[in-house]
């Protein structure tokens, strides 16, 4: 068995008195890709944001490499350097150039030498075909380009796991494929451990080692990827796949 990266134990989350996540349990191992599927409002974003402390949870625990994370600001700040996250809305910093966006966290947070990080950044930019845009500002880029930069900005921290929340959802269709290819390459070539929330079912089927199917804040299925798409166990999951035209 490969090393355990993340484990979630009996996690519950409330907003006020609304119970949003019910007793979530799962484990993610090194190199695995977990896709988080489920209808809109089922709690996918909330769950993924609990994993890097952007949301606090009401009870339960998250373990990173076997160690229970004490949910203090300071601890989360430490651990976030190991847990990369990319959002639907890219959220590049508009006051910084592409290169400055990429260099900010490694040089300020990890205190790595600027010229070395810059060299690595150039390599990563080349990988995503944007080496010419190092000195551009985010507003000069298309959505797809911004999202590629956001991925590079997360990768340069050398995370042990990446959380990707609907990263193609606000892109024009012709931009989507490029981003999906980047994620596929991350998994297949670099064996990056990832949790992916997506509505691209074809992509999910192809990349998922494990599928969590969420509805109303409950895990209805926790199934190996191939099995889930070949034959979902629950009626609800079957309906969901059908509604996604799959």
């Amino acid at each position: 068995m490969t090393e355990e990266i993340l484990r979630v134990e009996n996690l519950n989350k409330f907003y006020g008195d609304r119970h949003i996540l019910h007793d979530i349990n799962f484990t993610l191992h090194q190199g695995e890709v977990l896709t988080l599927l489920g209808p809109s409002g089922s709690g996918k974003s909330t769950l993924i944001r609990c994993l890097n402390g952007l949301e606090d949870f009401s009870s339960g625990a998250v373990y990173f490499k076997g160690e229970k994370i004490k949910p203090t600001d300071k601890n989360w700040q430490e651990i976030r350097q190991k847990i990369g996250m990319v959002f639907q809305s890219y959220d590049l910093f508009p006051n910084l150039t592409v290169m400055e966006n990429i260099l900010l966290a490694p040089t300020k947070v990890q205190k790595r030498a600027k010229d070395q990080v810059a060299q690595e950044a150039e390599g990563l930019l080349k990988d995503v075909g944007l080496e010419k845009y190092a000195d551009s500002y985010p507003r000069e880029l298309s959505g797809g380009q911004k999202q590629r930069i956001a991925i590079v900005r997360a990768l340069i921290m050398h995370p042990e796991v990446m959380l990707l929340d609907e990263v193609t959802a606000s892109l024009d269709p012709e931009m989507v494929r490029g981003i999906l290819q980047i994620m596929t390459k991350l998994s297949k070539k670099h064996h990056m451990t990832m949790i992916i929330v997506t509505h691209e079912m074809g992509f999910a089927e192809q990349i998922a080692d494990q599928v969590l199917f969420l509805e109303d804040g409950r895990i209805l299925e926790n199934t190996p990827g191939k099995a889930f798409f070949a034959q979902p166990k629950t009626e609800r999951a079957r309906d969901f796949l059908e509604s996604m035209d799959f």
Partner: protein, 225 residues
């Protein structure tokens, strides 16, 4: 008539004295803006922190300076403060103190508003990269806030410059006070002096404030686009 213009404005060192007075107004504005912006930035940041008592006190501070007319403020620092605390600073320092505290109050609100209007997703993506709260402020929120607050800041600057016209009330020889002296000296011979002097002062204030006002309008228009 032209005769009286020349006699009033350019006789002796009248024009030089007016410029001297203008200079006094300008450097008092610049100094109090500089001090007020620094203090106001600090207070503005503090006002975005979760502590309720702190926010309440700073809010009180802001409201105080909003409600109390500037002229009362000037009297306060010029007549009351020195007596009750035994401070004997020159009037211009006291004026800078009053103006700087006022600017800090107004600017703290501008800074708070700007920081709060940076989208929450910017904070989250910064935190997700492992930035500390301080780093988040320093590299992400403040630079974006500065852009957002620029028009309102320039606006505040024009208000400060205009308000320096009250300085003569605490016997500072600003442009208005000197103008007044010249008018009084010429009242007998040239009754129209008052027009020329105030006309000139009007133009001088206009020359300083109008470009600032234009700049702020242009920035605001750019932001709305």
């Amino acid at each position: 008539m032209e005769h009286s213009v020349i006699n009033v404005l350019f006789v002796g060192n009248n024009f030089a004295r007016i410029m001297q007075g203008l200079w006094t107004s300008v450097w008092i504005s610049v100094d109090s803006l500089a001090a007020g912006l620094v203090l106001g930035t600090l207070l503005g940041i503090l006002r975005t922190l979760p502590s309720k008592p702190l926010r309440f006190i700073l809010r009180l501070y802001l409201e105080f300076f909003r409600i109390v007319p500037t002229i009362v403020l000037l009297y306060l620092v010029y007549y009351i403060l020195p007596r009750s605390f035994n401070i004997s600073w020159p009037a211009s320092w006291m004026a800078i103190l009053a103006f700087a505290l006022w600017v800090a109050a107004e600017f703290s609100d501008i800074v708070r508003g700007a920081i709060e209007s940076v989208p929450v997703t910017q904070k989250e993506s910064g935190l997700a990269l492992g930035l500390s709260k301080t780093q988040l402020f320093r590299y992400v929120l403040l630079p974006q806030a500065v852009q957002l607050e620029l028009p309102a800041t320039i606006n505040l600057a024009t208000r400060v410059i205009k308000t320096t016209s009250l300085l003569m009330m605490i016997s500072i020889m600003d442009v208005i006070a000197i103008g007044q002296q010249i008018i009084e000296a010429n009242n007998q011979k040239y009754p129209t002096a008052v027009f020329w002097i105030y006309g000139l002062i009007f133009i001088l204030y206009f020359i300083i404030d109008y470009p600032l006002s234009l700049w702020s309008k242009k920035l605001a228009a750019k932001e709305n686009r």
